[in-house]
C-alpha cells in the first residue's frame, strides 16, 4: 500500500513539474476588448477598436508612438529636417517585407501618403496630411517629403494609426485581410467573437516573445469580470467596469493598473446659442460642477480633474482647475449678472459611454442647485454625430475627446462648440509652425490659459485607463497615449 502511495506521489510530482515547465514556456495570450472593430484598416476608419488590434502589431508607420507618447523611428530608421523645417528626408529600413511577401520600399511610402491625402481619400484623419506638399522617391530606401509650411507635429502625426504604410497590392483589401509590415499577422477573424494574430517569422525588427495573441470581444461589463475571474482571458487592457476594479485590486492573481489616456472629457456648450453665448453663463456652469463628486460618482474615483483642455501627464500641462473651482454661490451671482437670476431651462444630450450617462446625471443635479433645469436626452453615437457634432443642434453635451494632440479642435472652423477666438487660433498657428520644445511649451501654456478663461466648454476630467491583467503578464502599456494594445514587448514572466 505504502509503495502505491509513494509512486502515486512521485507521479503527481512529475505531472506538477511538467505543468510548471510548460507554464514557463507560455507564449500565447488572450486579451479582452470591449468593442469589435468594424474592419481592420486604420487608414479607412476612426474606431479606436481598429488601433487597439493592429497598431504596432500588424501595421507600422514611418514613425511610431511609444508607451510614453514619445515619437520613435519605425519603418524610417532615421530622418533629417531642413533648416526651414519644410523638407523631411526619411531613410527607410532595408529588407522589410509585407506579410504577403512583397517588399517594402520608398514606393509604398509615397503610395500611402498620396493615397491618404488624395481627393477621393476616405482617411479618417485627413487633416494630419494637409501640410504635405509633395512626396518624392529619391531611391528605393529614401523618401523626401516637402511641407507647405513648417509643422512641428509632423513626425508625431506620421506615428498615428491612420498614417501607417500600406502596399498598393493590398490596400483595397486591408479591411478584411490586413497586410502590414508588423511583427504579427492576422490569422483569423471570427466576426462577433475574436481576432487571432500570430508571430510574423519574417519580421525585420526585434522578434516578439508571443507566438499568438487572441483578442476576444466582450462588450458586457459583467461578462468581462467573469471572463477574467474564470481565466478565459488573461488581460483586459481597457477594462469596462470601474466598480469591479477594487475586487481585482484585492486579488493577488491580478495586476491592476490605473493609467492615463488622451481623453479630455468636457461638458461642451453651444457657444453661439443663447444663453451660452454669454461668458458669465458658461462660467456659472463651470463653477457649479464639483469635479470630485463627479469623478467619484461617474468613475468610482479613478479620473484626474482638468481645468483646461490639456492632458495632465504632458510636460507642458499647467493645473488650471482653480480657475473654475466648485463655488455654487459664485455661480448664482454670475447667473444673476448675466440676467438669469432664477436660472433657465436647457437640455443635455448624452452619448452612450458610462462616463457621459452617469456624469450627466450628476451634473444635471448640480446645475439644478443653481437654478438651471437641464433635461437629459440620451442619444446613440450615430445620433450624436449627426445632431450634436455635425448639426450643432444641442445646448450642452458630455464627451471625451480621445485623440492625442487635439488642442487645435478649439481653433477649427465650424466645430461643434461654435467657439471662435482669433487669439486662440493665432496661438495654435504658432504651435504648428514651431518645433522648438521650450517655445512650444510656452505656447501650449498660453493656449490652456485662454481656454480656461473663455470656458468654451466646462473642463471635467481626464479619462483613466483601467488595465487589469494576470500578474505574470509583463510589457502591456500602462497608459494610453494613443488607442493601441502594443504587444511587441509583452511576455509571460518565467
Amino acid at each position: 500500500m505504502n509503495r502505491v502511495w509513494k509512486s502515486a506521489l512521485a507521479a503527481s510530482a512529475l505531472v506538477l513539474l511538467s505543468a510548471t515547465a510548460s507554464f514557463a514556456a507560455k507564449t500565447d495570450l488572450v486579451l479582452g476588448v470591449v468593442l469589435e472593430p468594424p474592419h481592420l484598416d486604420p487608414t479607412a476608419g476612426a474606431a479606436t477598436a481598429i488601433g487597439e488590434i493592429v497598431y504596432a502589431n500588424v501595421f507600422e508607420g514611418l514613425t511610431r508612438i511609444n508607451a510614453k507618447g514619445e515619437v520613435l523611428p519605425a519603418l524610417a530608421e532615421s530622418w533629417t529636417i531642413s533648416e526651414d523645417g519644410k523638407l523631411y528626408t526619411f531613410k527607410l529600413h532595408k529588407d522589410v517585407k509585407f506579410h504577403d511577401g512583397t517588399a517594402f520600399d520608398a514606393q509604398d511610402v509615397k503610395f500611402s501618403l498620396d493615397r491618404a491625402r488624395d481627393e477621393k481619400s476616405t482617411n479618417p484623419q485627413k487633416p494630419l496630411f494637409a501640410s504635405i506638399d509633395t512626396v518624392e522617391i529619391v531611391d528605393p530606401l529614401t523618401v523626401k517629403v516637402t511641407l507647405k509650411q513648417p509643422n512641428g507635429d509632423f513626425l508625431y502625426n506620421m506615428g498615428w494609426a491612420a498614417a501607417v504604410i500600406v502596399a498598393p497590392e493590398s490596400a483595397d483589401t486591408n479591411k478584411e485581410k490586413p497586410v502590414g509590415t508588423g511583427p504579427f499577422k492576422v490569422d483569423n477573424w471570427a466576426k462577433g467573437s475574436q481576432i487571432v494574430i500570430s508571430k510574423n517569422p519574417a519580421y525585420w525588427g526585434t522578434p516578439v516573445a508571443l507566438d499568438k495573441a487572441t483578442f476576444r470581444i466582450i462588450p458586457d461589463p459583467a461578462a468581462a469580470t467573469a471572463a477574467l475571474l474564470a481565466g478565459d482571458v488573461q488581460a483586459f487592457p481597457v477594462f469596462p467596469s470601474y466598480e469591479a476594479v477594487p475586487q481585482f485590486q484585492a486579488d493577488p492573481r491580478f495586476k491592476v493598473v490605473i493609467g492615463t489616456t488622451e481623453g479630455e472629457t468636457v461638458l461642451g456648450m453651444n457657444n453661439k446659442k443663447p444663453p451660452f453665448d454669454n461668458l458669465k453663463v458658461r462660467q456659472a456652469i463651470a463653477h457649479a460642477i464639483d469635479r470630485k463628486t463627479l469623478i467619484d460618482g461617474a468613475l468610482f474615483g479613478l479620473g484626474t480633474p482638468i481645468g483646461s483642455f490639456f492632458p495632465p501627464h504632458h510636460p507642458a500641462y499647467i493645473d488650471l482647475t482653480g480657475e473654475s473651482a466648485y463655488d455654487p454661490a459664485l455661480s448664482k451671482k454670475l447667473l444673476a449678472e448675466a440676467g438669469h437670476p432664477d436660472g433657465f431651462k436647457t437640455t443635455l444630450k448624452l452619448p452612450p459611454p458610462v462616463y457621459a450617462r452617469r456624469g450627466g446625471e450628476i451634473i444635471a443635479a448640480e446645475l439644478r442647485e443653481i437654478g438651471i433645469e437641464a433635461e437629459i436626452i440620451p442619444v446613440e453615437w450615430a445620433q450624436w454625430l449627426e445632431q450634436v457634432f455635425k448639426g450643432k443642434d444641442y445646448d450642452m453635451t458630455i464627451v471625451s475627446h480621445t485623440e492625442p494632440n487635439d488642442l487645435n479642435i478649439f481653433a477649427r472652423d465650424n466645430y461643434y462648440f461654435n467657439y471662435d477666438s482669433p487669439a486662440f487660433r493665432e496661438v495654435i498657428k504658432q504651435i504648428e509652425a514651431t518645433s522648438d520644445t521650450t517655445t512650444r511649451t510656452g505656447l501650449y501654456q498660453q493656449a490652456q490659459k485662454i481656454l480656461a478663461a473663455d470656458v468654451p466648454a466646462a473642463f471635467l476630467f481626464q479619462l483613466p485607463k483601467t488595465g487589469i491583467w494576470d500578474a505574470k503578464v509583463e510589457g502591456l502599456w500602462e497608459n494610453g497615449p494613443i488607442p493601441a494594445n502594443d504587444l511587441t514587448a509583452v511576455k509571460w514572466a518565467e
Binding site: A190, G192, A222, A230, D232
Partner: protein, 315 residues
C-alpha cells in the same frame, strides 16, 4: 390541403413584401450616417462624402430600395457598410451559433416542460401540484440575464467546468462548440420551460374537463390511459403554438444572453449593426426573421392537423 398551403405561402410572400417596405422606411428615418460614424470626429467633409459614395448612399431612396429587393430575389443580401463583406456571409456565420442555441434551448424546455405539466395536471389540487407550479412561477419571474450570471459564477468562475463565455467556432470541434452553448441554452431554456410547463398544465386541465374524457373514463380506461391517449394529444395544440412563438424569440430575441456569454449570435449582429447604422445588415436580418416567423407559423398550423385528425378535412 394543398390549396390551403399555397394560400398561406402567398400571404407569407405579401407579408414579406410589406415588411421589406416598413423596415426600409423606418431605417431611413432613423438619424445617423454610417459613413460619418466610420470616419469619426476628425474626418473632413470630403472624406465623408467619398465614403458615402463608396457605400452607395448617395443614390436616391427608390433606386436603393429596388436594387436591394432585386438582390434579395436572387439571394444577394448586399454588402455590409461597416464590415464590407457580403451580408449573407455575416448572417450564415451567426446562424451557425443562433440556430443550434435556439434548438437546444427549445429541446431542453420541451423535455422538461411537458413531463412537469403532465405531472402537475395529474395531481391537480395537491401539494405537489401547487409546489411544482410555484417553482415554475419563480422560473417565469427570474430575469434570464441574472440567472445566466449565476450559472457563470457557479460553473465557470468557481468550478471551472465550462468557459465563462465566447464561442470557439465549430472548426474547433463539435464538443468544444457544444460545451460553450451549455450554459447559454440552460439560461435560455429553463425560463421557457417554466412558461411551457404552466401552459401544458392548464391546457391539460381544460381538456380533462371535456365530456369525451368522462366518456373515456366511463368506458373503463384508467386515469393514466386517459391522460396520455386522449388528454395530452388534444392539449398539444396550445403547447405547439407557444413553442412556435418561443422558437422565433430564441432565434434573435436573445441579445441579452448573447451579451452575457459574448456569443456571436444573430441578436448581437442586429444590435451592433443598428448602433453602427449598418442598415443593410439590419434589413437583411429582419427580412430573414420575418421569413422564419412566417415559416414557423405555417409549420405549427400544419402540425395541428397532425395531432388533431379533425382538422385534416377542413379548409
Amino acid at each position: 390541403m394543398l390549396n390551403y398551403v399555397s394560400k398561406r405561402i402567398l400571404i407569407g410572400i405579401l407579408t414579406l413584401l410589406a415588411a421589406s417596405i416598413v423596415v426600409f422606411i423606418v431605417l431611413e428615418i432613423v438619424p445617423g450616417d454610417p459613413a460619418r460614424l466610420m470616419l469619426g470626429m476628425n474626418a473632413t467633409e470630403d472624406a465623408v462624402q467619398a465614403l458615402q459614395q463608396q457605400m452607395g448612399l448617395d443614390q436616391p431612396l427608390l433606386i436603393r430600395y429596388f436594387s436591394w429587393i432585386g438582390g434579395l430575389l436572387v439571394g444577394d443580401f448586399g454588402k455590409s457598410y461597416t464590415y464590407s463583406v457580403p451580408v449573407l456571409n455575416l448572417i450564415t456565420e451567426r446562424i451557425a451559433v443562433s440556430l443550434p442555441l435556439a434548438l437546444i434551448s427549445l429541446f431542453l424546455s420541451t423535455i422538461i416542460a411537458i413531463p412537469v405539466g403532465l405531472f402537475s395536471a395529474s395531481r391537480r389540487g395537491t401539494m405537489t401540484d401547487s409546489g411544482t407550479m410555484a417553482i415554475a412561477q419563480v422560473g417565469v419571474a427570474i430575469p434570464n440575464f441574472w440567472f445566466a450570471l449565476l450559472l457563470v459564477y457557479v460553473f465557470a468562475v468557481s468550478l471551472r467546468l465550462v468557459p465563462a463565455g465566447g464561442f470557439p467556432g465549430w472548426n474547433a470541434g463539435v464538443w468544444a462548440g457544444l460545451k460553450s452553448l451549455i450554459l447559454p441554452s440552460i439560461a435560455l431554456g429553463l425560463p421557457q420551460a417554466a412558461i411551457l410547463a404552466r401552459v401544458t398544465r392548464s391546457a391539460l386541465l381544460d381538456v380533462l374537463g371535456e365530456d369525451y374524457i368522462r366518456t373515456a373514463r366511463a368506458k373503463g380506461l384508467t386515469r393514466r390511459k386517459v391522460l396520455y391517449r386522449h388528454a395530452l394529444r388534444n392539449a398539444l395544440i396550445p403547447v405547439l403554438t407557444i413553442l412556435g412563438l418561443q422558437f422565433a424569440f430564441l432565434l434573435a430575441g436573445t441579445i441579452i444572453i448573447e451579451n452575457v456569454f459574448y456569443l456571436p449570435g444573430l441578436g448581437r449582429l442586429v444590435f451592433q449593426a443598428i448602433t453602427q447604422r449598418d442598415l443593410i445588415v439590419v434589413e437583411g436580418v429582419v427580412m430573414l426573421l420575418v421569413a422564419t416567423v412566417i415559416l414557423v407559423n405555417l409549420l405549427v398550423d400544419l402540425s395541428y392537423a397532425l395531432v388533431d385528425p379533425r382538422l385534416r378535412g377542413r379548409s
